[in-house]
Amino acid sequence: MIDLRRIYLDHAATTPVDREVLLEMLPYFTRFYGNASSLHSDGGVAHEALEKAREKVAEVINAEPDEIIFTSGGTESDNLAIKGIAYKNKDKIKGKGPHIITSSIEHPAVLETCKFLEKEGFKVKYLPVDRDGIVKLDILEKSITKNTFLISIMAANNEIGTIQPVEEIGKIAKDYDIIFHTDAVQTIGKMPMDVKKINVDMLSISGHKIYAPKGVGALYVKRGVTLQPILNGGGHERKLRSGTENIPGIVGLGKACELAKKRMSKDIQHIKNLRDKLIKGILENIEKSYLNGHPEKRLINNAHFRFTAIEGESLIMDLDEKGIAASTGSACSSKKLQPSHVLLAIGLTPVEAHGSLRLTLGRKNTKNEIDYVIETLPKVVNRLREISPLWKK
């Protein structure tokens, strides 16, 4: 069933593949299908496409092409960065409890990797955040021990959109000579990301969050940083990521990065205007509604609300019927039946976390769509509040 009137406001979950990206990819499925490792000219064409894409990805974060490792996506990039550096450092500081510092609001790809390493004998500090979701830098600095070899803190949060002070973190990491990794999956194309300015050693990128397809991503690894691979095999990607390169996907990621760079200032203006209008419209039109996350230091496309006395899953279901695709941090929408760890970390009660709603905008959203959401959402919230025993006017 195709409904042409759907309003997609879940771009933090995934984005559609841009038409220009798709057109760039298509020849690499059926015409230029060579293996980039092959010596014949078909392989050469694939190899050339691979290296061209590498340049484009490098450019969007001001890195050098040989610092880009292609992966299957953000999760793999995070795993490679953290496990790769952990295993490399394990013997160096054996017996002393090699130490990682991360934050309590990371994406599961980072959190679960750290928890896994804890079982392997590593020590991990999960930094608290303030009510806006910003990592406390004084605690970060105090948490550093002589065994700390890695700081992994996301550039911006995928749920509440809060942007972390990565430049300051990069400076601290440099001062103490600690490797700094950042998961920048949500920030590419939404704000300038300059690896040299941030002083970051590793940075994770995901294709499908930036209008490239699912199943492709990249990890920036600064020259001089050595990792132990987590996939062993034919030695692709500077021996860091074996496996025949996903050329169509990588070409798509390259094109998406080129477009992200080219369109960034236009995107920022368009999307931020709509997002600001949305936040204002919702807070003004729905009583007892609140914005989660930092009011200014937030991704330009992120609006994250909570509404008293209603539960997020039913909110999503009602919005879905009205043609609006959204997301929630409510336990009832998760497989684990736990409210979002991010919302609990910023100090919300479980009941408040249940009543949360994330709307994340993209390039194609229009003013009319946002007007429709501002008109529709109050009705949906009111209907659920009428049903709710917790709602007292």
């Binding site: 039913s314 479980p350 249940h354 049903i387 709710s388 917790l390």
Partner: protein, 133 residues
């Protein structure tokens, strides 16, 4: 959860809940669940000659919690208290053409709320008899 995980009947009851609201002078009230876990429901009943003559609900929770609340009011209305006590969680889920497995425990509290309301009614009756009213 996604819309596709629910049966049409669950969606229909969620979108058009039956007997939603409160009964101000209810004879029995039952509240179960905990908003911390994401679900809380209250069932109100009016009883005449040991029969449920009116029933209403209020629910905080997911689509399944709202749909099961709505369904239990339909199942219980007009039934004797004895009959209503026999309605199980499974009956509610079956009448809704099933619930996703993950929702069977957390959101399928409607039968418990109904039974709590009936027990509340019986408690009140006992007290009334004792005080001779």
């Amino acid at each position: 959860m996604s819309a596709g995980m629910y049966s049409e009947k669950v969606i229909e009851h969620f979108r058009n809940p039956r007997n939603m609201g409160e009964i101000k002078d209810a004879d029995g009230v039952g509240t179960v669940g905990n908003p911390i876990c994401g679900d809380q429901m209250t069932i109100y009943i009016k009883v005449k000659n040991d029969r449920i003559v009116d029933i209403k609900f209020k629910t905080f929770g997911c689509a399944a919690a709202i749909a099961t609340s709505s369904m239990i009011t339909e199942l219980a209305k007009g039934k004797t208290l004895e009959e209503a006590m026999k309605i199980t969680r499974k009956d509610v889920a079956d009448e809704l053409d099933g619930l996703p497995p993950i929702k069977m425990h957390c959101s399928n509290l409607a039968a418990d709320a109904l039974h709590a309301a009936i027990k509340d009614y019986w408690e009140k009756q006992k007290k009334r008899k004792k005080s001779g009213k």
